[in-house]
Amino acid sequence: MATTTASTNPSVSVTDPTNVIVETRNLGKIYRDFWGRKKVNALKSLDIEVRRGEIFGLLGPNGSGKSTTIKLMLGLLFPTSGRAFVFGKDATDVAKNERIGYLPEESYLYKFLNAEETLDFYGRLFDMPASVRRERTEQLIQMVGLQRARRRQLKEYSKGMTRRIGLAQALINEPEFLVLDEPTTGLDPIGTREMKDLILRLREQGKTILLCSHQLADVQDVCDRVAILHQGELKELGRVDSLLKVQDVTQIHAKGLDEKTKLEIKELIARSTGEMLRMDNPTTTMEELFLDIVRESEQRPGRRGSGA
């Protein structure tokens, strides 16, 4: 893997420790009940790195431990084993929060505040002076498109609007590192598209983004690298393009072919002892990969041998 992990920004060196934003070492989490009895082993010895300037995706089915990983990185949970480092500091260190933005799985905000008050409140938590707060609030409200609802209490907001104000809240401090837990849930197709564009734009501004999702399309469209989790175990880690490239499969995309040409291509494939699979959208391939991993890991638990 190490050879194929050069990030989008070739000048970023992996060996330079300041370029590793998040590092988890043998990170594990067991949820216990009040009496200390084991309930769920939500995460098992996870080792990943998130590097400066990349969009890193955590992928996995429901209950696979994505949110748990994120909460461990933010210090909302304490690890049962191993450690998580953010900006080289322990994840429980409060000072790191200055440079982090976090969008939780649902927008956990005070329902009795309106959009402006919400952003002002979170701005104060960053010790921002009033003029800066006003400016940022204005900017973010424009950016997430809540101009017309800015004075309405959040309890009146629709799901998508709540998601937007949640995102604005995560960006209030212009974070270097953005953690998004399922950023597109609750958004309509246009909203989803906008969210993805925004994520890409943020990367262009030099921010590092960690997002988790089970929306394969999201991950495929925006992520540079992904880690695939299943039942708390890391199954796959690598660049999206190399993970999706299935070595002995060739995909042909063409436009304006007539039936005859298509037939000829099929014949050509048949003649060269190959086998025609199908000609379609690469998204399905992502889905395939995902389903493969899930299916396979249900039969054989543990890290996948190939690809990783």
Partner: protein
């Protein structure tokens, strides 16, 4: 209203002489050791001894090195503002409306014909406000943090650079601000309620033919009688706890507003000791075997005396009228004698060194009444350095404001009973409204303590459980004096270890512990003493709100001493610190997403 001697200690007496500061330090020490041990045991189970010790040390270090210096006023302000907004948007001010309705109805139910209507009104509004505000503080503080954790809003808070210190401070300040606002509203309404309920006017009627005496009209179930002096001025008799000034304006007799019901008398109390029959110091006075534990007695026609020492009595505390003092001394007769003549006593004023002493001022006991007396400032008959002299009170007797008052009983075989609070000087009264405000400051302090404890419990308990925990602390606090009593009366052979050993030995607690091993017995005593001291110290970690309840001062028209109030303020600050530190450790070690 009965004052206990500790209530008129000055602030510094309380802090240093009566060891409040020492107890404070002891408490900090015991709590710190206990906290460290508990923390260490928990960390030990989780991480093992070495790592556990390191974790606990790191936690403590971070409080002083990182979190206290990193605490930002703006963040605390943001959290406090939010708490206020939340309370207001969730319509907490409804309590104000409830209060208004309640006092409107109270107007019907409070006994209009009461002996002292002002007293009744004042203690009603103060007590009622007190409970309302405490309940408000309890609910505000106990539910806020748990609801943020339950709704997971806390995720977006603690992933910002917010420190545990700020979470505690912000909440406490916010709820205190809400409580203060409510208290201000309730307080001003109460003030109006009391003043409007008490103030009334009379007209002069039934004026005698010579025009110098008469009665007032009947108002609010009472009337007064009055006699005017030659200048045409006079004061009515006292009914329902007040009088009126009456004066002749032209041909008409005008009855002025009431005086004496909305006032704040300023008693100056002293410390009292007794001398026995031989004239030597005997601290306790005599016990006549029945009546009250509160009063102690001196025997008539003997050297028995009660001596008060007063400090800080200065000329400017008194008006032109002279040195005014009140006595509430009672008598205990061993024989009936002449039942019409009350038992007599005498009062002497003398300087601390005894060089200046006045002639005795005789008095007759006025049972169940306040005997209001006064002496002039100058021209007092007495002796200076054994020579007869005319004394000047503040020059010769009360040098630096310190002097003694000696009371003796004159009648052979009769006894005079008294306690420290039964003789006091009455300085110029203070404004009633200021005393009223001080009463509200007491309520405010109680509220702050409840809020601190509520917030503390809510850092590790769910809302309803935090309410129960806070209530338990308050109730336990009422019984805090039990622990003091037990420890004061306990001899060293009834401590916990000794008692444990006694169970199998079937030895009663009345006997000495006898194990036939003197060093062992001694060790047990030392350990027991230590445990008892720790328990006593820990019992101080629980606030006694009863001690902070000062409604009686306001209701009975006694100025609430500054010393007492500053003491309560200090205690409140102590609890604030204690709960803050405990909250810090709970917040710091709590997994917010678990």
């Amino acid at each position: 209203m009965r004052l206990s001697p500790d209530q008129f200690w000055t602030y510094f007496e309380w802090l240093f002489v009566h060891s409040a500061l020492l107890y404070g330090f002891l408490l900090v020490l015991v709590l710190a050791v206990l906290g460290f041990l508990i923390g260490f045991v928990v960390a030990l189970l989780k991480h093992g001894p070495a790592e556990g010790f390191l974790q606990v040390s790191k936690l403590i270090g971070e409080l002083f090195v990182v979190d206290i210096p990193g605490t930002s006023i703006r963040r605390v302000g943001a959290i406090a503002r939010l708490a206020v907004k939340e309370a207001i948007r969730k319509k907490v001010l409804v309590v104000v409306a409830v209060f208004v309705i309640a006092i409107m109805f109270a107007g019907w139910y409070l006994d209009q014909q009461a002996q002292f209507p002002a007293r009744l009104y004042i203690s009603f509004v103060l007590t009622f406000t007190n409970y309302m505000v405490l309940v408000l503080g309890l609910f505000l503080s106990c539910f806020s943090l748990p609801s943020d954790i339950k709704s997971k809003i806390i995720y977006t808070i603690v992933t910002k650079p917010v420190r545990p210190t700020e979470l505690f401070l912000g909440r406490v300040l916010g709820f205190t601000a809400v409580g203060t606002l409510v208290l201000l509203l309730l307080g001003s309404m109460s003030y109006l309620f009391v003043v409007r309920g008490v103030i009334h006017e009379h007209e002069a009627i039934e004026i005698s033919a010579d025009g110098v005496s008469g009665k007032t009209s009947r108002q609010q179930f009472h009337s007064h009688e009055f006699v005017l002096d030659e200048t045409g001025n006079g004061i009515t008799n006292e009914t329902k706890g007040h009088k009126h000034v009456v004066s002749k304006v032209g041909d008409k007799i005008v009855v002025g507003p009431s005086i004496g019901d909305l006032e704040a008398r300023v008693p100056i109390y002293g410390m009292m000791r007794f001398t026995g029959r031989d004239g030597q110091v005997a601290n306790d006075g005599l016990n006549v075997g029945y009546m009250s534990e509160y009063h102690k007695y001196i025997e008539g026609d003997s050297l028995c005396s009660a001596i008060w020492t007063f400090k800080n009595v200065t000329r400017d505390s008194f008006s032109e009228g002279g040195l005014t003092y009140d006595m509430t001394i009672s008598a205990f007769r061993t024989y009936k004698g002449d039942i019409v003549t009350p038992v007599g006593g005498e009062v002497r004023f003398r300087s601390i060194d005894g060089s200046a002493v006045t002639e005795p001022f005789p008095f007759k006991v006025k049972e169940f009444q306040v005997d209001q007396r006064s002496i002039p400032f100058t021209g007092l008959k007495g002796s200076l350095n054994e020579q007869p002299a005319d004394l000047d009170f503040f020059k010769d007797i009360a040098k630096n404001g310190e002097f003694e008052v000696v009371i003796r009983c004159q009648d052979r075989n009769q006894y005079l009973g008294m306690a420290a609070g039964d003789l006091y000087f009455r300085a110029e009264p203070q404004a009633f409204w200021w005393n009223f405000i001080k009463g509200y400051i007491s309520i405010w302090l109680q509220m702050v303590i409840v809020i601190c404890f509520g917030v503390m419990f809510s850092t590790f308990l769910s809302g309803p459980v935090a309410i129960i925990a806070t209530l338990s602390v308050i109730v336990l606090g009422f019984f805090g004096f039990f622990v003091d009593d037990i420890i004061k009366n306990a001899d060293s052979d009834v401590g916990p270890v000794a008692s444990l050993i006694r169970i199998p030995l079937q030895s009663g607690s009345g006997t000495q512990l006898d194990l036939g091993n003197i060093p062992l017995e001694r060790a047990i005593r030392v350990v027991d003493k230590g445990i008892l001291i720790c328990v006593q110290t820990l019992s101080k970690a629980i606030p006694n709100l009863n001690e902070l309840h000062t409604a009686d001062f306001v209701a009975y028209g006694v100025n609430l001493f500054g010393g007492l109030l500053s003491r309560h303020l200090t205690v409140c600050a102590g609890y604030f610190l204690m709960t803050g530190i405990i909250s810090y450790f709970f917040l710091k070690t709590r997994e917010m997403a678990a």
